[in-house]
């Protein structure tokens, strides 16, 4: 009898919890489905342009001209070869690599040094200077185009490393030179800001310990801060690389010959005033984004770490 009562009572107490559990489970499933459904929807949405780009790059000219989503004939892999040859991609590709590497070397050096100084060295006017530096992010590129152009042409003050040279030796104008495409971009406010945020999080105890060992700021920066800051530095490099790789307006203004024209100019070969050769344009676009995709693929983990640790939000 007791057993029966106990069993009834157990059943009585058990059943509601089962209902709750079921209820909770259904809600959870619905929630998860909605969540994943939404995520999948947006993932497809963001992948669609890539799909369209790749698909168009494999179409015939007439299929691309009417904006089809998928090719109606055999895949035109030869579009890549045609785009490469006609856009002179070999030349422009190499130029872009050199421009990006030279620029990034400068960006890393200036960002690390300035970021460290703003984060860890107390000096008069530090916050004011940093605020002013940040404010320059708000100035649109179009506003600074004319002054930048005048500076590069040596009209504001003579430039020491330019004119008539292939690399860095010559007269006072950097027009049509590698220096015009790299040096002005070696100071990145964003890079300085990012690294400053990171360096500010390094505990003072580490600095104290380094001081006891006789280290100065430079040694502390190189031996202690930089190894820790690897993710943040990689983030700066990646973002700087994308910026340098994608630049178009400035190179077109500041170059006249093909000597240092970057990859984006090659894409311009497929656009005319009354139409475009979309299939070649997309094949060229695929070639153009490939290095960025590869670099991001290898640096993805470090990049995510860098974004997370420096307090950046999307």
């Amino acid at each position: 009898m007791v057993d029966k009562v106990q069993a009834q009572s157990m059943t009585a107490t058990y059943q509601p919890s089962m209902v709750n559990y079921r209820h909770f489970s259904v809600r959870k499933v619905i929630g998860k489905t909605a969540l994943y459904g939404t995520l999948i929807f947006f993932a497809i949405l963001s992948l669609l342009p890539f799909f369209w780009m790749i698909s168009t790059s494999l179409m015939t000219a007439s299929d691309a001209q009417v904006g089809r989503l998928v090719p109606t004939t055999a895949l035109q892999f030869q579009n890549y070869g045609v785009a490469w040859d006609e856009g002179n991609f070999g030349k422009y590709f190499m130029n872009s690599v050199i421009i990006a590497v030279v620029t990034l070397m400068g960006v890393v050096v200036t960002s690390v040094l300035a970021g460290y100084a703003f984060a860890r060295i107390k000096f008069y006017g530090r916050n004011v200077i940093f605020t002013m530096l940040l404010a320059t992010i708000m100035v649109p590129d179009t506003v600074t185009l004319v002054p930048n152009y005048l500076t590069i042409r040596g009209n504001i003050f003579p430039l020491p490393l330019g004119d008539q040279s292939v690399w860095f030796v010559g007269g006072n104008s950097w027009y049509d030179l590698l220096s015009a495409l790299t040096i002005p971009f070696m100071g990145s406010v964003f890079g300085i800001f990012l690294l400053r945020q990171f360096f500010a999080t390094i505990p003072d105890e580490l600095w104290d310990a380094a001081r006891i060992d006789g280290a100065g700021h430079l040694r502390f920066l190189i031996t202690v801060c930089l190894p820790i800051a690897r993710p943040a530095v990689v983030t700066v490099v990646l973002i700087g690389f994308v910026g340098s790789w994608n630049s178009f307006m400035w190179p077109i203004i500041i170059t006249e010959s093909e000597t240092w024209r970057p990859l984006m100019m090659a894409l311009n070969n497929f656009i005319e005033d009354a139409g475009s050769r979309t299939h070649l344009l997309m094949a060229g676009a695929c070639i153009t984004i490939l290095p960025i995709m590869i670099i991001y693929f290898f640096a993805q983990k470090t990049f995510t770490q860098g974004v997370a640790t420096s307090g950046l939000k999307g």
Partner: protein, 503 residues
């Protein structure tokens, strides 16, 4: 005493006359031998390759061109519109007539028209050397002169009329009068800042088969392309209601009569077709609110309100070309230089590069209320920036070469731009046969009108475009904005901009 007076008078006269002779031809004693000419242009792809060939042959007119000579053989590319080696062989004798001075031209793409405009304005602002030759629309050339206080470009009249280097009257007479005059600037004392080596025209692209279908089914009352606004409305509305049997089934947009491009050239073309003009050249003022403009814009607004027309969804992606090619848009109005792209859109590629037309299409006049068509003819000329007299003459020799009958015909054939001289048509028979739309629009050159070549027209074009959005971009069923007040405001703004570029 008398002798002394006479001698004195003779000396005075000589002093007075001599400079006049010298002024007649300031280039008389210039030797252009061995000069290098830099040429900035906007052409890409096949057009750039043709231009490059023209330049290469000009630089080496006595070379043995053609496939046999490896040194001068031009390796073919997929996008070459013609056999460039054959073209080089045909050009060489012409080039030999012009370039007897060892002139070398270095042509390079410097971006689009807009980017070149930007670059040259920056260079003028920085007081830097300009290229020896550049493509420039008339309003851009005028802006260069405004920016530089009249010192950026040379007055090409001095070279056109030069007894030593100029052009014969008979040759000048071959140029279409309206086009020839379009590079002469009354606002700058009648000076010539450009030379017309090509032109395009705002033309109406239409689906021939669809029109025939509408007529056969009794949906429209006329055969062929519409020539009046009433016929245009009839066909556009009929097309919107009766889809084309040959339209692609998976087309992204519904059938539409007319796909509107938001551009100032479109605004001007419709105003011209309704018998008006957008600029008063006598009083040097914009006239964007005349009765013709109001009537034209009201006409288009009515088409939009009735569901017979829509603004093209993405002009940057040339959606009007796309929808036209898919058979869902009956009419599109665009530059004649777009003919190759419309041809591509309206064809099916069989996979081996062979194009098979999906339907018959053509291009023609803008439907008009005037007795004869009035076409909006535009296009960049080439302008010669100030350099040394030797370089200016060398550049001029190259310009004359570009303006020769043979080169114009070759350029017209390969690039599908219109030549600016009538006798080029004699050499274009094969082109007319190959591209019917080009043949159909070529005779319209005689009805040319033009947009104002005044400084500051570029920002005015933006203002016009913004107004077109206000006029035509409204939800279905809603009352659109009134046309006249909007055009009044537009005209006022345009004239304020003009005054800013006049001081």
């Amino acid at each position: 005493m008398f002798k002394k007076v006479m001698l004195f008078l003779i000396i005075i006269l000589a002093l007075g006359i001599l400079p006049t002779f010298a002024q007649d031809d300031p280039y008389a004693d210039v030797d252009p031998s061995g000069q290098t000419v830099t040429f900035w242009h906007n052409h890409t792809g096949g057009r750039a390759r043709v231009l490059d060939t023209i330049v290469r042959v000009f630089n080496n007119p006595t070379a043995t061109w053609g496939a046999e000579n490896t040194e001068f053989f031009i390796a073919p590319e997929t996008s070459d519109p013609v056999d460039l080696n054959a073209l080089a062989v045909a050009l060489a004798p012409v080039a030999a007539e012009y370039n007897t001075y060892g002139i070398t031209v270095e042509a390079s793409n410097q971006g689009s028209y807009g980017e070149i405009f930007e670059k040259i304005r920056l260079a003028i602002g920085a007081n830097e050397a300009l290229p020896n030759l550049t493509v420039a629309y008339q309003n851009q050339a005028a802006t260069y002169q405004f920016d530089s206080a009249g010192e950026a470009l040379i007055d090409m009249n001095l070279l056109v009329n030069s007894p030593t280097w100029g052009m014969a009257e008979e040759e000048i007479a071959q140029f279409f009068a309206g086009i020839w005059q379009s590079d002469v600037f009354p606002t700058f004392g009648g000076e010539r800042y450009g030379f017309p080596v090509q032109r395009s025209m705002e033309v109406l692209y239409f689906n021939v088969d669809w029109l025939a279908e509408l007529f056969a089914n009794g949906h429209i009352s006329f055969e062929g392309a519409p020539t009046t606004p009433d016929q245009f409305r009839e066909a556009a509305c009929a097309a919107a209601a009766n889809p084309f049997s040959g339209a692609e089934v998976d087309a992204p947009e519904s059938s539409m009569g007319y796909e509107i491009a938001l551009s100032a050239s479109n605004f001007a073309a419709w105003t011209f077709a309704f018998g008006g003009d957008i600029f008063d050249y006598e009083n040097n003022a914009y006239t964007l609110n005349t009765a013709a403009s109001v009537e034209a814009m009201t006409f288009i607004q009515g088409l939009v309100a009735d569901g017979c027309a829509r603004i093209q969804t993405d002009p940057g992606a040339f959606t009007a070309q796309r929808n036209f090619g898919l058979g869902t848009t009956m009419f599109a109005m665009q530059s004649s230089s777009g003919i190759p792209f419309f041809q591509l859109a309206a064809s099916r590629d069989l996979g081996d590069g062979t194009l098979e037309p999906r339907f018959n299409w053509s291009a023609g006049e803008i439907p008009h209320t005037t007795e004869t068509p009035v076409m909006n003819l535009y296009g960049a000329s080439v302008s010669i920036p100030v350099s040394t007299p030797e370089q200016e003459v060398a550049t001029w020799i190259f310009v004359k070469f570009l303006g020769s009958q043979e080169v114009m015909a070759i350029w017209g054939d390969a690039a599908n731009y219109f030549p600016t001289r009538a006798d080029a048509a004699e050499l274009l028979d094969a082109t007319f046969e190959r591209i019917p739309a080009y043949a159909a629009t070529f005779p319209l050159l005689q009805y040319a009108s033009k947009e104002p070549g005044v400084p500051g027209y570029d920002p005015v074009r933006n203002e016009i475009q913004n107004t077109m959005v206000l006029l035509w971009d409204f939800p279905a069923g809603e009352t659109p904005e009134e046309v006249a007040p909007l055009l009044d405001a537009l005209n006022e703004n345009a004239n304020i901009i003009l005054s800013e570029f006049s001081n």
